[in-house]
């Protein structure tokens, strides 16, 4: 079987610090990592590789430096890595990104399973995975914490707000994986050396995947960022002291004053 894992390179938010003067994020010098839940998706795929001999392909869309994330995936055990990189892809929103990934997946063709993380820690949209499934017209199972593949179908445990849901789906299908699913492996240093010195990352541009220029990048994006800003810090709360009866009276007074009650 062939499993394709979609990964995104993101800034390591654990390492992001705030500029004390401006209150904005300091992005300079922040290391890039594989989006954590994408890494969990890769780990799920690698488990399928060990159990069923699946071939694992990782694919990412991003600037040339995203190659580093793909090398890390190779070091972890992926068989093949593809980077979708082209100036034409710049300015993509989630829709155009999903379309671009969709073109590439169609080019790969004979996949049985597509995996992705639930959402990326930089955008937090959780949209790209489902949109790719829609584009490819295959079943999608989101929020997956446990995945098994039997024959031509998968069985997945979905994490809901108040419990779990078990779902079966026919392959080919797309699943998005949550962090709880596993603890991604650390690559052996020897595999890192091989990934950097011997393995290669395939680069695909817009032409390679036969993308219609109107459907990718800024042109293919129905949404556009109007303005980015840091929300003003929340005002500190107020603690009402005194006996419960006094506190309740004060509370009602305040709520009245603010015209809430």
């Amino acid at each position: 079987m062939k499993a394709v894992v979609m990964i995104k390179q993101v800034p390591d938010t654990n390492e992001v610090r705030l500029d004390p003067r401006t209150g904005t994020l300091i992005r300079e010098g922040v290391p890039s990592i594989i989006n954590p839940e994408d890494k969990s998706a890769l780990e799920e795929a690698l488990k399928l590789k060990e159990a069923l001999g699946a071939e694992v392909i990782v694919i990412s869309m991003g600037p040339p430096q995203a190659e580093d994330a793909l090398r890390e995936a190779l070091a972890m055990g992926a068989d093949e890595a593809i980077l979708l990189t082209d100036r034409a892809f710049a300015g993509s929103d989630t829709w155009a990104t999903a379309t671009t990934l969709g073109y590439a997946l169609k080019k790969i063709g004979d996949f049985d399973l597509v995996l992705a993380g639930r959402q990326a820690i930089d955008g937090d949209t959780a949209q790209v995975g489902p949109q790719v499934a829609e584009y490819l017209k295959i079943p999608q199972v989101t929020y997956v914490a446990d995945l098994t593949v039997r024959g031509d179908s998968l069985c997945a445990k979905r994490v809901l707000e108040d419990g779990y849901e078990e779902i079966e789906a026919k392959l080919p299908a797309l699943v998005t994986i949550v962090k709880e699913a596993n603890a991604p492996r650390y690559p052996h240093a020897g595999a890192i050396i091989t990934a950097y010195r011997e393995q290669k990352v395939t680069l695909w541009g817009a032409k390679d995947i036969g993308a219609d220029p109107e459907t990718v990048g800024l042109k293919g994006s129905p949404t556009q960022v109007k303005r980015s800003f840091t929300p003003p810090p929340k005002e500190p709360g107020q603690i009402l002291k005194g006996s419960p009866a006094d506190a309740a009276r004060d509370l009602v007074a305040i709520l009245r004053q603010k015209n809430i009650v």
């Binding site: 580093d68 090398r71 603890a183 240093a189 020897g190 050396i193 950097y196």
Partner: protein, 561 residues
């Protein structure tokens, strides 16, 4: 006559008033094929550390959990410097230094585990082992399935390795070994131990031989483990050999070659230890900065007070200098330069003392919290003290820096004094040594002042040492306080060289250079002042008084008044 023969080494040249710019101004950056690998490995290590390694628990329980051992095996950390054909990673000394730095910043006990294994335990096998021996041991050592240890120290023998009591004599196609080793790190878990023993039957003066000992064999037993001040989690144990039979094929190198092997192994180990101290200092600085910016006293964060700022600034200086020394010395090894003993000794001495300063000031910044658990500060202090003692005490290293460092200078002075017109030539030599070595490699104009200071310093080191040697001749070796001052001057001169070289290498990266320049300048200021103080004390000191006081104390067996 200004000596001009290429020495292919740095500090020995400084003593001659020469600077090998080939070495100095190619500041060793990592090989491009190693850069990516090392940075990926480092980020995986930091991830692993935050997921799985609890250094507080390792210290408290005095054990490294098997899960941590296994994770380190899975990452390949036990094979960092073992060649790829034996299943290792074949990383350079420079790359190894960067990884050891990061390992120590997470947990110094894990550094000792890896360091005792790679830096010294199997280093002799790497350098002197024959193909068959390497085939036999290295593959399992590279995976961490087997661990290595290095056994030199004995109850009566520390730094004076010539005086070993452990003996091996010829016996039935092999050797019979008797004796004891103490404080052997990894000794309890090792399955291959490089053991040094005196072998009186071999020709030579006090001949030592190195053996590859497998602890499972009859005649070997483990003694108790020492209760250590710090670095809990790794054990330092007693090894006992009672009529232990060791086959001929387990002799490392040639019989009688043991001393040379021990010296070579320790020389290269000292660079790794320097890197470890740098990593520990980075951890100190992070804790210091965090606490100083959190703690409020007298209405302000203590970070705002100059007395605290001075402490954290000094830590940054020490880290920068130490790291530059480690990289320059490591780069010399990677370039195949054989003679780096003086640079390695200077690196170890500087870094271990800087580490202790940093740990001490960290505790000071933390105040009362610095002295008690569960705060992390007291552990840093405990973990760092050994660095000034093991792999050659810093006192011995100072004697070594002088003895080895001035070898070339002494030889050329001897040649001068024995030749016709010796005195005249010596005078000319002194005159010429007033000339400062040219420094065409320091091209960045922002470094001009520092390059000038370094040239003056090198010329003075050479001139002062020449005068001192001429005045005291053979007696100088006994004047250890004078010798140590010269060694201190040499350490700072090497520190200046390393900093200058590194700053020059940053010349194209203005942003980084602008951050590093103040650190470099502050160090140059400090080092120049220290060198001046040492120079002055070569002339005016109270050494004789101190020697007399010590005699009175020894007679009274304590305080004499």
């Amino acid at each position: 006559m200004t000596p001009t023969d290429g020495l292919d080494t740095l500090v020995k040249g400084f003593f001659l008033g020469q600077v090998d710019q080939q070495i100095l101004f190619l500041f060793p950056e990592l090989d491009s094929s190693e850069t990516d690998v090392v940075s990926r490995l480092l980020s995986d290590w930091m991830q692993l550390a935050s997921d799985k390694i609890d250094q507080v628990a390792i210290d408290r329980t005095q054990t490294i959990p098997e899960t941590v051992m296994q994770a380190m095996r899975d990452m390949g950390l036990f094979g960092l410097t073992i060649p790829q054909r034996f299943g290792g990673l074949g990383l350079s000394t420079s790359a190894y230094g960067r990884i050891i730095d990061a390992v120590t910043a997470v947990c110094p006990a894990l550094m000792l585990l890896i360091g005792a294994h790679l830096s010294i335990g199997l280093k002799g096998l790497l350098l002197y082992g024959n193909e068959e021996q390497q085939q036999r041991y290295l593959p399992s050592l590279a995976t961490g399935k087997a661990i290595a240890a290095f056994a030199l120290t004995e109850p009566q023998t520390g730094s004076d390795a010539h005086a070993l009591h452990t003996r091996a004599v010829h016996d039935q196609g092999g050797w019979r070994m008797n004796g004891r080793k103490i404080w052997i790190s990894n000794g309890d878990i090792a399955s291959m131990i490089t053991v040094f023993a005196s072998t009186p039957e071999v020709d030579g003066e006090k001949p030592l031989t190195a053996f590859l000992v497998e602890p499972g064999l009859p005649g070997f037993s483990l003694g108790p483990s020492a209760a250590k001040l710090g670095l809990h989690g790794t054990n330092s144990v007693v090894l006992q050999f009672k009529d232990m039979h060791i086959p001929d094929q387990n002799v490392l190198g040639e019989p009688g070659e043991g001393f040379r092997i021990a010296v070579q192994v320790l020389n290269s180990g000292r660079i790794g230890l320097g890197a470890a101290c740098v990593g520990a200092m980075k951890y100190c600085l992070r804790l210091a900065s965090q606490w100083a910016q959190k703690r409020v006293a007298f209405g302000a964060k203590i970070a705002a007070y100059e007395l605290i700022q001075d402490k954290v600034a000094q830590m940054a200086l020490d880290i920068f200098v130490g790291e530059s020394m480690v990289r320059l010395a490591g780069g010399m090894v990677d370039r195949g330069i054989k003679d780096y003993a003086v640079e390695a000794a200077a690196t170890k001495a500087f870094c271990s003392e800087a580490m202790w300063r940093a740990a001490d000031e960290l505790v000071q910044i933390a105040g009362g919290r610095g002295y008690v658990q569960p705060f992390p500060y007291e552990r840093v202090l405990r973990d760092s003290r050994i660095n000034r003692i093991f792999e050659g005490t810093n006192e011995i290293l100072r004697l070594l820096i002088f003895e080895e460092g001035t070898r070339g200078l002494r030889r050329s002075l001897r040649a001068l004094s024995q030749s016709r017109w010796g005195m005249l030539k010596l005078a000319t030599h002194k005159l010429q040594s007033l000339k400062q070595p040219a420094l065409t490699g320091a091209t960045d104009p922002r470094l001009a002042d520092m390059a000038g200071t370094f040239r003056t310093t090198t010329a003075r080191l050479s001139r002062d040492t020449t005068e001192l040697l001429a005045r005291h001749r053979a007696n100088l070796a006994k004047r250890q306080l004078l010798v140590a001052r010269v060694a201190d001057m040499a350490i700072d001169t090497f520190g200046m060289a390393a900093v200058l070289s590194r700053l020059q290498s940053m010349s194209g990266d203005s942003e980084n250079l602008s951050r590093a320049l103040p650190i470099g300048r502050a160090y140059f200021h400090q080092a120049a002042a220290r060198i001046e103080q040492n120079r002055e004390a070569l002339e005016r000191n109270d050494d004789a008084l101190r020697v007399d006081i010590a005699q009175v104390i020894y007679r009274a067996d304590g305080y004499p008044l």
